[in-house]
Amino acid sequence: MNRKSPAMLILLGFALAAILAGMIGPVSASNPKSAYYSDSTSNVFWFIHTSDLHIGARGTQDTANLTWLVSQAKNVIAPDFIIVTGDLTDSTDGNLFGYPNGPYQSEWDQYTNIVDVRVTPEDYFDLPGNHDEYNDGDFNYYLSNSVQGRRTGNTQLSFTRTPGFGKYHFVGINTADNSGDPFSIFGPYYGDYAGLDAEELSFIGAELAANSDSDLTLVFGHHPLAPTGNPEDTYVNYGLDQFLGLMDFYSSVSYGYGHTHAFSEAFFGPGLTQPGFFYLNVASLGKSSSNQYSLFAIDCNGISSTTRTVGSWPVVLITAPVDRYYGNVTSPYGYDVQASSSSPIRALAFDPDGITRMDYRIDGSSTWYPMTNVPADPKLWSTGWNSSALAQGDHTIEVRATNGKGVTSSNTITARVLQSSPPLPPQVHIDSLATGKYVKQNKTTTFVFGSDFYQGDTVVIRAQAMIGTMPVTGASVTLSITGPEIVTLTTGASNSQGIAEAKWATKAPARRSTGTAIGSYTATVTGVTAPGATWDNATTPQATFTIKSR
């Protein structure tokens, strides 16, 4: 796990590519598009993601916030597990500058004193960050003190959850530098040349392959995968392409990270063959003043999350429908709400004083409607929402939780409602196409069908426009005449019998002209317009006729 030279990295990249090539074919991949909208209330579970505890940092709420998370939050929210993405310790021992020159066993002692009596290796997954690595490239302190380091002897994690309605794979990666370089006040890396070496990538690839039958794969690590705009925010350098290749190949649905001490919700897609993955940054539990942890839920394979401030209650999270704009994009992994008189809404709500009521409203309406508690799962609330009365398109759903003290908190998402398919406009077709000419006899002009014409005749092409068996009035037909000459004609509007006519005045030979070319011609319909109807473009009758010389 040492820093590799670029040449070495290239070789390792090839090695990894070879491993991947061997995998192509027999493996499957998780399916981020498997989210479905259902009235089932039993296909949901939830967990917490936090980061950057910075135990030992001077003047922070580091130990208080961690204690709160693994005691009150853990007890009230009852997450399936908590995952912590690095910087467990500050590596400063509270020095005045905040200059990380550790590691310090005293910080790790504070950490273990807090977590060891409140979590288990089955419900708490802690990863290393750069502050856990400065001056300790072999992660001796992490491996000797962290919950998972002690359990696995590894700096990376892989575990699954199989709650009875699917399999969900979670991977924790070690993006911290492996050199053990000390912190430096000089950029660009500040002693933190973050990345994933061949051994780390091999672990990730093997675990993804071994769990490729999962419904969803969620990955967590300390560092961002790209520059953030803040030059002091280091990010994954070496091994990035290989890692993104694995994320892409195994269709991971999300990457959750910390490091920046800022919250952001985005979607990571550039350069991937799959649509990409949710890219979710949580602020620092120890050093930030808000957005210090995220509550995630997976409900019928749909992901939702809310990012919250320590000590703020109640906590509420809509789990169905999923937010159409999760990740601040039109989510490629969401679904639409087919309008119905009882479209399900589900939400989780938590409070130390208990939740006394849950309500929802649509599009910011002044009217709130009650939700009911799911008896089998007291933290889950549901209702049937009449979406059939709404216009097709986006609508906001806001769910409000009220706790025992009357304090409220809400969560809002956007769902797209699809009404039953509106009736298609009627389709007009040309029932018949014929040729003829008008003949005047005894002051009476009559139309005579025929297909033989002489140069100088006016050829009349007559089309009958119909919708089903009914003639269409006002239809206009575009015709293409092909033969020795090519002509395009447009009829006038059809009459009440659906008949529309176009006239082609052919030319007789004259002194300086041979007239319209003689020969066989074909008339074909190329377009039809009709009020309130569209052309079916399926029935295309033709009419053939001949122009002769006299």
Binding site: N95, Y99, Q105, W108, D136, F186, P231
Partner: protein, 165 residues
């Protein structure tokens, strides 16, 4: 003939001197380097193997051995900056802050542009509550770099010391 003989003799002497000098140099470098290497081994044993497992006594024993090795290296080569740096780090880890400060001063005298050593020295001064010296050290560090971002950070540290005072 005599001139040729003299030339050959001088050439032989010069070759002998030139070939012998690097050997002497290598022997000296090798011994100090060996002490430094051993010192690092002891340091790592104490710091990475013993301390994280709560084995303070074993760690202290390893640190004592490391201290002796680094001091031996420095005795052989007083301008061996890496050995000074390792010794400073060792003293700092053992909370022997006055000795750490002295060793960091030695580092800085040999490598004045080692800004992080300036910061470490300033930190040692702060912990010894020698705040004026800490500020002075950081001001000195600012004169050793053109990196604006680093200077901004050093100013930040100075500000923290002044607020602390």
């Amino acid at each position: 003939m005599r001139t040729t003989f003299r030339f050959l003799l001088l050439t032989l002497i010069a070759c002998t001197i030139l070939s012998a000098a690097p050997e002497a140099q290598a022997e000296q470098t090798g011994r100090e380097a060996e002490h430094n290497r051993k010192g690092l081994e002891y340091f790592k044993e104490g710091f990475y193997q013993k301390l994280p497992k709560g084995q303070q006594r074993e760690a202290d024993r390893a640190f004592d051995l490391a201290t002796a090795e680094f001091q031996n290296a420095i005795a052989l080569k007083p301008d061996f900056v890496e050995a000074h740096r390792n010794l400073a780090r060792l003293y700092y880890v053992r909370r022997q802050l006055s000795k750490a400060a002295e060793s960091y001063r030695n580092v800085i005298s040999l490598a004045p542009r080692d800004i992080d050593a300036h910061v470490q020295l300033a930190l040692a001064y702060v912990e010894l509550e020698r705040f004026d010296e800490a500020v002075h050290q950081l001001e000195l560090a600012k004169t050793q770099t053109d990196d604006r971002e680093a200077i901004r950070k050093l100013d930040g540290y100075i500000q923290k010391i002044r607020e602390r005072k």
